[in-house]
């Protein structure tokens, strides 16, 4: 008893303070010599603020130690296997980081004249061509900051194109397996959402699209492979149905890592595609951004792409904003250029063959995990999987153990859990995407952990249900966080832990 209370006390001490709870009045890590120029009278004093109450006052080592300690409370690709489905947590090469920090990339200003940015514009132009080749599409805008902004941009293109033909139409067809961003982007673009169901094999039937498709439908928004990790085998027939009624097809390229060298969206009858460079093209996720979500289109949508367009003219690169049909800008400047430099570096490093190999090994890794776990976990759809595989908690549920419990128990084994409870059409989904950069030994270790958990679920379900046991904090009270939101620290706030 006394031992465990001593342990508790020690762990309380190790609990990190907030940056605002450390430091001392008057301390700063910033030194700047006294400036000659005076600010007296430059700005009327009525326009100036009081000092910022509660703002940090710390030395440099204090700040660094604080954030280094915080970092140690994260799982990350470089420390743990991170098979988060639909997120493509592959290795983020170090060379990408080195080149993105070159002064010729990191220290350039977007308002400088195009003549002073020729290297950057050449890189962007070249990257556009590479992404078009990989996907079989024709024209590219690198401006969108992330996949969801790419979706919105793509739908805006569709809306502008149809409006010019006389009718923007009213609805977007979205399968029930889609990412939540698809319907949300549709709403944001002024469209209604028609949800269609996938069939018992986890894919969309041509008949389902035929039934939903009419002259009010602007587009079908489809993910391929879909979020069940299954290839939409009817895709060619489906896109024909949509086109026959005057609609367009949007492909969510979140799962492009399963397609490189295997199938090109441009050959599927896709009119608009977005890619997530932070997934397929190895740029770091950064704990939730920044990413990049380029949009690719076929020729008939080219004129609607965001401005400015990068055009080559006799070896010189120029910016063209004279595009009267363009949807305009969706972001300031050129998008997340630093992310684009990293993706470009990755493509150069791998080359065409390397990209194809990446996809093949991603498929092999996913199928390997699927096979090794198929006897211990219920497979959602007994179909050949692509780059990710989906299990459910149906077997473990008999012992009162849920997907959430399995995920939390995996943390104790030192693995980041798969994506859970998504897609929504699968009850208790566990969506595993290993990516190509993992060794079979790593996959074996992960599989062994899941097999051990399956055994524990039978023998000692409480150990699983009370997991995690070894993490910096245990299960957190999310209901309390939402009920009484505390979204910031306040000076003098008591930390009422009751």
């Amino acid at each position: 008893m006394s031992e465990s209370s001593a342990e508790n006390k020690a762990s309380r001490v190790a609990e990190p303070k907030l940056i605002f709870e450390s430091g001392s009045e008057g301390r700063s890590a910033f030194y700047w010599p006294k400036e000659d120029g005076s600010v007296e009278g430059a700005i009327p004093s009525s326009m100036l603020r009081e000092e910022i109450a509660g703002f940090p006052e710390l030395g440099e080592l204090e700040v660094l130690r604080h954030f280094t300690r915080l970092s140690q409370r994260n799982f990350a690709i470089e420390s743990q296997f991170y098979p988060l489905g639909s997120c493509t947590m592959k290795y983020n090469p170090k060379i990408n980081e080195v080149v993105a920090r070159l002064p010729g990339f990191a220290q350039i200003h977007p308002m400088a004249a195009a003549e002073l940015l020729q290297g950057a514009l050449a890189l962007l132009h070249d990257l556009e061509g590479m992404l078009a080749e990989i996907s079989g599409m024709e024209h590219v805008s690198l401006q969108p900051s992330a996949g969801a902004q790419g979706e919105l941009t793509g739908l805006m293109l569709i809306r502008s194109c149809l409006s010019e033909k006389g009718n923007p139409r009213r609805n977007i067809i979205v399968p029930d397996t889609a990412h939540g961003t698809n319907p949300a982007s549709s709403t944001l673009c002024g469209y209604g959402v028609l949800q269609i169901s996938s069939n018992e094999r986890g894919v969309i039937d041509v008949a389902a699209v035929e039934k939903a498709m009419d002259e009010d439908v602007a587009a079908l928004m489809i993910t391929n492979p879909n979020t069940l990790g299954l290839f939409e085998t009817n895709i060619e027939a489906i896109t024909k149905v949509v086109h026959a009624k005057g609609g367009l097809v949007y492909l969510d390229g979140a799962n492009l890592n399963a397609l490189m060298g295997i199938a090109k969206p441009g050959h599927m009858g896709v009119d608009v595609l977005h890619m997530n460079l932070h997934k397929t093209f190895s740029t770091p996720h950064g704990g939730g951004g920044p990413g990049a979500g380029p949009v690719l289109v076929r020729d008939q949508l080219k004129d609607y792409l965001p401005v400015p367009r990068i055009v080559e003219d006799g070896g010189q690169f120029k910016l063209d904003s004279d595009c009267p049909k363009s949807i305009g800008r969706v972001r300031s400047f050129f998008g997340n250029f630093g992310v684009l430099v990293r993706a470009y570096t990755y493509i150069l490093s791998l080359g065409g063959d390397g990209l194809e190999d990446a996809t093949r090994m991603a498929l092999l890794n996913a199928n390997y995990i699927r096979k090794k776990l198929e006897k211990s976990y219920h497979i959602a759809y007994d179909e050949p999987c692509m780059h990710e595989c989906i299990f459910t908690d149906r077997i473990q549920h008999r012992y009162g153990v849920s997907t959430l419990d399995i995920a939390k128990r995996l943390l104790d084994y030192g693995y980041h859990p798969p994506t859970i409870y998504f897609p929504l059409v699968v009850s208790g989904a566990l969506m595993i995407e290993p990516t190509e950069t993992e060794t079979p030994e790593t996959l074996d270790g992960f599989v062994d952990a899941l097999l051990a958990i399956a055994q524990e679920a039978k023998d000692d379900p409480e150990a699983v249900k009370n997991a995690p046991h070894s993490t910096p904090v245990r299960r957190l009270d999310e209901a309390r966080a939402a009920r009484k939101p505390v979204l910031r620290w306040e000076p003098g706030a008591s930390n009422d832990r009751s």
């Binding site: 710390l58 954030f67 140690q72 080195v98 961003t181």
Partner: protein, 449 residues
């Protein structure tokens, strides 16, 4: 192959396990019409050394501020970044993790975001901040959409200051264009360079949803928010401020002091390299009563099953992965690594350092403006107080720009492409990175001495 660790023996063993003969069997179920044409025709992969050389060659065809003397702002600013910032965001525990869906193993990211939200509240004087959006421009657009969620359907007219960053106005226009109930209207600026308060008052009415102004605005001018807020309040419109240079808030009265409803802006100034304008992040703060209308991620404090403090993503029922088409926004990223850079940056500078740096900017910019007028023979276009950017008129701007370019100097941004009424006017930005000698040199080149 690069980054795929599989040996031939690995592949054979794994294929045997899955019961297939060849790698191609993994995608045998995909129509041949697709697989037959799927080859990627790109050059072979390069060695790391060759990649580095290729990228260095491309980088050398740009003009970085390390080689050129630049006085460019207009939404992206050249500021000093302490070494500790990049050291922290380079830690792979931060850079190679995902959105913190598993809070037990994401407390590092979650606590840093909670601290970020607090710092943004302190900086803007607002009550609540989200975990950030893409950039300043999309933040402005999202703020307008948020106002649409708050205001009744009878109010759908948006009044945007013409002195707001022109690219931001373009992005707002793109975002609302497809929402048929929305109307955008421009509010002119006056001779002082500020949003014309009289015209604004005349434009405001019962159908006004919100007013959007820059603070400081695109011309560097510190808008008179008290007057603007009063006009908004009378008409029942919300006030949205957009700050492209958040360092200014280290010194200026923050939006919260004026009762601003939603305060957003670009955060790049706070520890993020310019990098052609991205990576960047949009900060997004509001009054507490609007919290459930916020777009984007929010981190909240809670406790774990043993009573320890911890942090989680919260109020997720606003978001796309739960609410789908009824979500407040489609956004699902928060530019987290950039917000981390800003969090470290603000923590290092701290209470006194941030104000000090803001003061250095004011001193340099105001000193430069006086010299350029007195010794350079240029005329200030506007009269209102400014932070670290100001507009000047040259007798012949093209000639001046060419003269400067010959000396590897970029004196500012020509305004005519966005403001035909401001022919021969240019926007000059002076930060702590523009040394006094550099300013003197600019004055000499322009003054022809």
């Amino acid at each position: 192959m690069r980054y795929t660790p599989h040996t031939a023996a690995d592949k054979a063993r794994m294929l045997q396990m899955v019961g297939l003969d060849a790698i191609e069997d993994l995608y045998r179920h995909i129509p041949k019409t697709l697989t037959d044409r799927a080859k990627i025709h790109l050059p072979e992969g390069l060695t790391e050394l060759a990649v580095r050389q290729r990228l260095a060659a491309l980088a050398s065809r740009n003009a970085p501020v390390t080689d050129w003397s630049m006085f460019l702002g207009g939404g992206i600013y050249h500021h000093f970044i302490p070494s500790a910032v990049d050291a922290t965001i380079s830690r792979s525990e931060f850079s190679t993790s995902y959105t913190p869906y598993q809070p037990e193993v994401s407390q590092g990211t979650l606590q840093a975001l909670f601290e970020y939200q607090t710092l943004i509240c302190q900086l803007t004087g607002m009550e609540v901040s989200n975990a950030a959006v893409y950039d300043g421009a999309s933040a402005a657009a999202e703020a307008v959409l948020m106002s649409r969620r708050i205001q009744p359907a009878s109010r759908r007219r948006v009044l945007i200051s013409r002195a707001l960053h022109p690219q931001y106005r373009e992005v707002v226009a793109s975002y609302v264009k497809n929402l048929e109930d929305m109307h955008l209207e421009e509010v002119p600026f006056d001779a002082s360079g500020a949003t014309d308060a009289e015209q604004l008052a005349a434009l405001l009415g019962e159908d006004s949803m919100c007013v959007v102004v820059g603070y400081p605005n695109f011309f560097g001018v510190i808008e008179g928010l008290a007057l603007i807020k009063a006009a908004c309040a009378t008409a029942g419109a919300q006030l949205i401020t957009v700050t492209t240079e958040p360092l200014s808030l280290g010194l200026l009265k923050p939006p919260g002091d004026f009762g601003v409803d939603i305060a957003v802006g670009e955060g790049q100034s706070l520890g993020v390299p310019m990098s052609l304008g991205g990576r960047a992040f949009g900060f997004f703060a509001c009054q507490k009563k609007f919290v459930r209308s916020l777009p984007g991620r929010l981190v909240g404090e809670t406790v774990d099953s043993e009573g320890r403090r911890g942090f989680v993503l919260t109020l997720a029922t606003r978001e796309q992965h739960i609410r789908r088409e009824k979500a407040t926004s489609n956004i699902c990223t928060s530019q987290t690594l950039c917000t981390l850079a800003a969090t470290v940056f603000m923590s290092l500078l701290g209470k006194s350092g941030l104000r000090r740096l803001a003061n250095v900017n004011v001193a340099r910019a105001h000193g430069a403006q006086a010299k350029l007028v007195q010794e350079g023979g240029l005329k200030p276009t506007f009269t209102a107080p400014f932070f670290n950017e100001f507009v000047l008129r040259a007798p012949n701007l093209n000639e001046l720009l060419q003269k400067c370019a010959a000396e590897k100097v970029v004196p500012g941004i020509a305004l005519e492409p966005w403001y035909p009424e401001l022919k021969d006017c240019f926007l000059v930005c002076v930060t702590e990175m523009n040394e006094r000698e550099e300013i003197d040199r600019l004055v000499r080149i322009i003054g022809g001495k």
